[in-house]
Structures are given as structure tokens and as C-alpha cells.
Amino acid sequence: MRRTILSAMAVLMLAAPVRATGEERWLHIHVDEGADGDRVRVNVPLSMLEQILPAIHVENFRGGRIRIDGADMNDVDLQAIGRALRAAQDGEFVKVNSRHDGDVTVSKQGGMILVRVDEKGEGAERVRVRVPLAFMDALLAPGGGEIDVAAAMKALSDAGEGELVTVESANEKVRIWVDRTAASAE
């Protein structure tokens, strides 16, 4: 019995660093502005953001929360929007088809909010946004004109891996995603 417990403890101790490394999720941001444009790569461990953001107290950004000032936001109940999204069944909420400007759809599917924009014409952009509902819930939870970025990062980390935002046009490509690797694979 004692040997079994010691063996189990040894295995757990050996496995702990592997588990910690494997569970770490990284937020990657890639921006490419064509051959002669800027190129930006950002790779941040989400756990680091969770720790750092609550410690920042600068202007409207305090304790991981951003206060959105302005008369426009006073009329918008962000929490109500979040609740409505949570309560809604999977399906398309918004669908706009424009012959000249392009197509836009907003839908909910499998706990994700999906936004698709396919512009038409010169410089047309193709946008894909895939945001976990838990992220939206955490972000909008404070209410009162505040959004909780730190809690949203925690929710993002818990939600797993995947693409969040992709914007593509003839001259520009932006990609934001979460995975378990420190290196940002192309």
C-alpha cells in the first residue's frame, strides 16, 4: 500500500510539469499587411494575461476592467444582450445579403457566436469571428458600462483552442487564435 502511494506520488510529481505545460494556452495575433507592409507577431500565454490584467490601473482600465464612457454606451444594456444571446437557440440571428456591399451573417452554434462578413468590390475583406459564449458572458458580466477583460481572458483559456478572428483582404491578413504552442505556427 505504502509503495503504491509512493509510486503514485512519484508519477504525479513527474507528470505535474508536463501537465502544466500541456494545459497552458497561448493567444496569438498575426498581422500581415502585404509584401511591403507591416508584419506583426504577438504570442502571449493566457495565464499571464489573467495575472497581469487585474494589476493594471490606468485611466479607464482598472482591475482588468474597462469602463466605456460615452453617451452612446449608456443606452446599451450589454448584459441584456449577453443574456439574450445565451438564451437564444442555435441559428442565424442576422443575415444581410447586399448585391454591392457583400454578405453578413451572425449566428450561434455550439456555444459559439459566429460572425461572417464577405465584402464585395475592390479591397473587399473576408471576416470570420468565432467567439465562445462564455467569453461574451465573462466580458459583459460587470454591466454598468464596464467590460471585464481579465475574466474574458480566463473564459477564453477555459474554452479551449481555435480560431477567434480572421480578416483577409487582397493586401492584409489578420489572424487571432488560441492554441497550446508558444511558437506561432503560420
Partner: protein, 159 residues
């Protein structure tokens, strides 16, 4: 051998051991703390190359000998304390994540790269005119942030 000669011999031996121990300790401390390295290479014709290596233990020693009243005289904004605290936490956290590229940005002919490597924060700037590389031990940044933060208004009474 006379008694005096024995005393002199033993004293010399003790001093030699202490000296050797001190040198060894200093070498180990210097090696463990690493060094702040700054290298600037000017690629233009006649440009100058500069290489600066400062052992991090020298920085620790400098922080230790600066009198408390001098630190108390550092005037910081009310918002500086939390930022320094964030910087300290950030450095501690970065050390736990191994080597990785935090930010890499290319703008026209200039490339900026911020990465962690072997417990150092490395900032590299490459352009056609010059290359700049700065390596600072993350622990040193955290120490300086902690030290300066001690004089910040929100960080409590100054020591």
C-alpha cells in the same frame, strides 16, 4: 618551524582560503545572476560598434548601497506603483514560461523582436543602419521594479 612561523603560515592559509572562497562565491553569484548585455552595431561606413557587459550582481550591489532616503526622494506618479507591480509580476511570470517570442514586428526595413531566452528578456532591433541587442535578466528587471516600487505612493510607507 618556530611558533611565529606557524602562526604566520596558518594565517596566510586562512586568508588564502577566504580569498579563494570569496572569489569562487563572486564567480558563482555573477554566473547565476547573469549579465546585462548591450550591443550596438552601426552598419554605416565608419560606424562604431559598442558592446557593454554589466554583471547583474553589480546592479544588485548598487541597489543595496543606495541609501533609503535617496530612494524615498524618487518622485513617482500615483499610477506608477501599480505599473511597477505589474512589471514585477510580468517578469516573474515570463520566467516560468521558458523561451518564447513575445512580440515580433517588421516595419519597412526595421525589425523589432522581444523575446525571453534563458531567463533573459532580449530586445533586438535590426535595421539597415544598425543592429541593437539588449539582454537583461528578467530577475534584474523584477528587482529594479520592486526597488523603485518601494518608493511609489501607493506602495505603502517608504523604507
Amino acid at each position: 618551524m618556530s611558533r611565529t612561523a606557524k602562526i604566520v603560515g596558518v594565517t596566510a592559509l586562512v586568508l588564502a582560503v577566504l580569498f579563494a572562497g570569496g572569489v569562487t562565491w563572486a564567480a558563482v553569484a555573477t554566473w547565476q545572476a547573469g549579465a546585462i548585455r548591450v550591443r550596438i552595431q552601426d552598419h554605416r561606413a565608419g560606424g562604431t560598434d559598442v558592446a557593454l557587459v554589466l554583471p547583474a550582481v553589480a546592479l544588485d550591489a548598487a541597489l543595496a548601497v543606495i541609501p533609503d532616503h535617496a530612494r524615498a526622494e524618487i518622485e513617482l506618479d500615483a499610477e506608477a506603483g501599480p505599473i511597477l507591480s505589474v512589471l514585477e509580476n510580468l517578469c516573474d511570470d515570463l520566467e516560468g514560461h521558458g523561451d518564447f517570442v513575445l512580440i515580433e514586428a517588421d516595419h519597412q526595413n526595421e525589425r523589432v523582436r522581444v523575446e525571453t531566452k534563458d531567463g533573459f528578456l532580449r530586445v533586438s532591433v535590426e535595421s539597415a543602419e544598425e543592429s541593437v541587442r539588449v539582454d537583461i535578466p528578467l530577475a534584474s528587471i523584477a528587482k529594479v521594479a520592486r526597488w523603485i516600487g518601494g518608493s511609489a505612493p501607493e506602495a505603502g510607507p517608504s523604507v
